[in-house]
Every structure is written in C-alpha cells, then in structure tokens.
Amino acid sequence: MSRAFCTAGFRTLFVKELMRFWKVSFQTVFAPIVNALLYLVVFAHVLEERVQVYEGVPYRAFLVPGLVMMATLQNAFANSSSSLIQSKMTGNIIFMLLPPLSHVEIFLAYVLAAVARGVIVGGGVLAVTLFLAPVPFMHPLWIITFALGGAAILGAMGLLAGIWADKVDQLAAFQNFVILPFTFLSGVFYSIHSLSATWQLVSRANPFFFMIDGFRYGFFGVSDVDPWSSLAVIVGTFAVLAAVNLTMLRTGYKLRT
C-alpha cells in the first residue's frame, strides 16, 4: 500500500509553486502592494476627517490592517487558483499527476505556497503603509495567527476553485462574484457597528469578516467580535474547505477522468 506522505515530493511541489510566483514577482507581489497603497492614499484622503471608527484611532490607521488582510487574502486565492487553472489549460498538470504525489501532499503544497504569497504581499503592504499610517502592534501573535489562518482559507478556496473551473472565465466569475464581494463587505473599510442590525447579522455570516476583525484586534486590541470566536470560525471554515479539497483530490474530481 502507498504511504500518505512523502516529504521530498511535497517539498518539490511547494518550492515549484513558490518559484512560479516569484519568477513573475512584479505582477504577483509588487503590483498588489502598489494597489493597496493607492487604496490607502485615496480613501484616507477622502475620509480621514469624516470617519472615526475606533476612539483615538485615525481612519488612516484603521484602514491599514484591513488593506493588509485584503491583499493577503486576495493573493493567497490568486496563487493557488491561477496555478491550477493555468496548468489545466496548458495541459502541464500532467507533470504533477503522473508522479507518486498523494492528495495530502498536493493539498498542503498548494495551500502553503498560497499562504507564502499572501503573507509576503501582506507584509509588503504593511511595510509600505506604515510610513503613511503608523499603527500599534498590541497582540503580535493574533496578527500572525489571523494572517496565516486567513491566507490558508483563501489558498484552500483558490485550490477548490482551480480544480472546479474548466476555463478562466469560470474562475474569474468565482473571483468577481464570490471573493471580491466577500472581501469588500467584510469590514476592510468600516466597522460593522456602523451598519444596521440586519447588515450586522449578514456580515456575521461572512467568514472574511472574522479574518479581518481578528487581524485588526492584533493591532489595536479592539474588535467587533471576540478574537477567540473569530479564530473558531476560521478553524471551522478551513476544516470544511480542507475536507472538500482533499476529497476532490483523492477522488480525482475534474483532474483524473
């Protein structure tokens, strides 16, 4: 019988995925950092004097964790989903399917590479925005935990979307009609306490909200929801996505006919 895990095979696929995005780092790392910087400059310029979300926290600073997390999540998703769909479209996915890689190895390699890109881009956004809007680091462990957890969830989501989509168009639909709305409506630019009761309830059904809220707690020590509750949502969401992904990979759904 075949063992479930081979370190060398997993490591190779993981490193290959890292190399893949790093070889086009202008597009995959530096461009998203510039985008986030533009968001900060424009939104802070327009709303700085009009909005105060947390007592004593300037809007410019409030925005930073949200933008960092948004960049982390979107790039984690983009990494695994674009790699999978490109491999499927060009046919070179065969090079991953022919070797003795298990479903566990494939899942972990893609998700961890996605986490790496998400964290690198998020870290880059944080580094450049700090010059414009200094933020405190009240609970660094929570910052790291939510960054890694959020990136892992979006990496797993990207893997799922990449396996499911048969063409780039379907993946774009997933990105534009699922990922983008969930990210924008998660509290990147506002606190859900500024919303009506109904929309507050809707927001609590959005797992992205818990990622960003928990992440922001790490900076300011203030959040809309208890960070432990947010962590529970993140762990639960990742567990469900991991189970779905592993089942798809094990059965060869849309990969092995």
Binding site: S2, M19, R20, F95, S102, G252
Partner: protein, 309 residues
C-alpha cells in the same frame, strides 16, 4: 500469464458517456520487451495508457505495473512508469534543467544531476539546459518530454506517439537512445502511426480497435501471416488483362494494375496468362506485405487468427 509481467491488464473496461473506450481487455507486456500498441484513432490506446499512468480511472478490471496495482499501490506503480505524452505540453515558467529537477523531486529524487546531465546529453539538449521552455522549438520540447519521462529511471517506459511531427534527425537519435534503454533492460511500450517504426523496433505488437485487442503476436508472426500473399504491380504497353483476372485486381489506373495473389506460386501462371491474352508487360514489381498491410487487413477484419503470443 507469466510472473515477470512489466504491465498486466485484466478485464479492463472504461466508458466515456456512450463511448466504450475499453471493452474488457486483457494484456500482458513482459519485462524487457519492446512492445507496440497500434490502432486507429479512438481505438483505446491512450485510454489504456492513461489508466496505467493514473490519469484515468477504470470502470472495471485491474492493471499493474511491475506487479504494483495502479490504484491501490499507485505510488510504487507510478515510480515504475515513465510516460511520454502525445501532446506537447510544458511549464512556461521554467528552464529545461529546472523542469527536470522539479520532475525528479516529484519522484523523491533530490540529487539527480548526474543522470539529468546524461539524459540531456543523449537527447541533444545540453546546450539548451538553461533555456526557458517557451523558447524551444516543437522538436526540442518533445525531447524534454522524453527526458521528463526518463528522469526517475523507470523500468517501464510508455511512448505515446513520440515522433509525431518530429524531424528525421531527432527521430533517429531518439530511437538510438530508446533502443539502448531497452538493451539495458527497460521495458518499452510504443504507440505510433508510423508502422515502419513499429515493425523495425517492436518485438511484439498488439492491435486495438473499438476498445478491444484484436491482434496480439510477435511482429515476425504478424507479418508472416501474410508472407504467403504477394502484391503484383504491372503496367502493360499493349493489350489488356484477361477478364478472368478481375477478382485479383485491387486497383487499376490506365494501363497500370495492382493485383493481390494468395500464393507467390501464382505469379508465373498469372504472367503467362497475360502474355497469352496478348498483353505486353512494360513494368513489373512483386512485393510481400509489410506491417502496414497487416494492420490494414486486421482493421478490416480480413485477417484471421490473430492472438497467439
């Protein structure tokens, strides 16, 4: 069935919608063989290869590579197998060497540089080792596909139409290399539409049609089945063929005729009849059928008794 099977397939079946791609086939390829898998498009060759490679899951039956079940013991089965795919595919992010190092790593091989250098040398890729895959010609990309299939030194190598669209020089160097691998003990399974290649290289051949193996024998026996038949091509400078020969005529174009005879001994009487009827023979050639003729007759179902070895 012998114990030394490189590939063993038992009652393998696969259906895609209404198409029965494989219809319960049994097949065995022995260790060290150079085995040909022939058939028209849609015969089921690629489906069979895909099942062996783990790219496709069978509906029924069992397949093993060097004794390892391709489903329940897939890790070991895949380690034993190298596949050169039919389509030219590549990862545009990487150079030739990076591609081979990555492929080695997938198989758990971390320090494989010496073998990679040897493969590059034998396939004429040494000067392209640092080149990005996108910059290579189609023939060069196909060489890399062969290199990728060999990078983990598999005892069984499947080449799915490896010379399609490839120039003569590469074809010859590729076959020299593959022959050497076969002499070193590697089992080779070849699918090709170039039947002269199959005839020259393969010791045994299976012919597939409609998801079934309809002929399986040594190449010599397959061709030998038609050795008692001859094809006569003649051009007349005067006169015409006697009407009694009409049943033997395969095709006619003006004064040129192609006739098939069941026995070489009938050639001389045939020529005598032509001359007696007033015909004057300007050109004449007598040939025995090759594998292509056997293939055509087998696919038409006009060649009986085809499974023996």
């Amino acid at each position: 069935m012998t114990a030394q099977a490189a590939i063993r397939v038992e009652a393998l079946a696969k259906r895609f919608g209404s198409l029965q791609a494989l219809d319960g086939i049994d097949l065995e390829v022995r260790c060290g063989e150079f085995f040909g898998l022939l058939g028209p498009n849609g015969a089921g060759k690629t489906t069979l290869i895909s099942i062996l490679a783990g790219l496709c899951r069978p509906d029924a039956g069992r397949a093993t590579v060097m004794g390892h079940d391709v489903r329940t013991d897939y890790r070991n089965a895949r380690r034993m197998l190298g596949v050169v795919p039919q389509e030219i595919v590549f990862d545009p992010f990487f150079s030739v060497r990076e591609t081979l190092v990555i492929q080695s790593g997938y198989f758990g091989l971390r320090h494989n540089d010496a073998w990679i250098d040897e493969i590059l040398e034998h396939l004429g890729l040494s000067s392209k080792a640092g080149a990005n895959m996108r910059s290579l010609s189609g023939g060069m990309k196909r060489r890399v596909l062969v290199a990728q299939a060999l990078v983990h030194r598999p005892p069984v190598i499947i080449l799915d139409e490896p010379t399609a669209g490839v120039d003569v020089e590469l074809r010859q160097s590729l076959w020299r290399f593959i022959r050497r691998l076969n002499e070193d003990g590697h089992t080779i399974v070849l699918t090709t539409h170039y039947l002269e290649e199959a005839e020259a290289l393969c010791g045994r051949i299976a012919m597939m049609k409609g998801g079934r193996v309809i002929a399986l024998d040594t190449t010599a026996n397959l061709v030998g089945r038609m050795r008692d038949r001859v094809v006569v091509r003649l051009t007349l400078s005067a006169g015409a063929l006697p009407p009694a020969m009409a049943a033997r005529v395969v095709s006619s174009e003006g004064a040129s005729h192609v006739l098939r005879l069941p026995d070489p001994a009938e050639v001389e009487p045939l020529l005598a009849q032509v001359r007696e009827a007033g015909g004057q023979i300007a050109e004449l050639s007598v040939t025995q059928p090759d594998l292509e003729e056997v293939f055509v007759q087998t696919m038409r179902g006009t060649l009986a008794g085809t499974q023996s070895a």
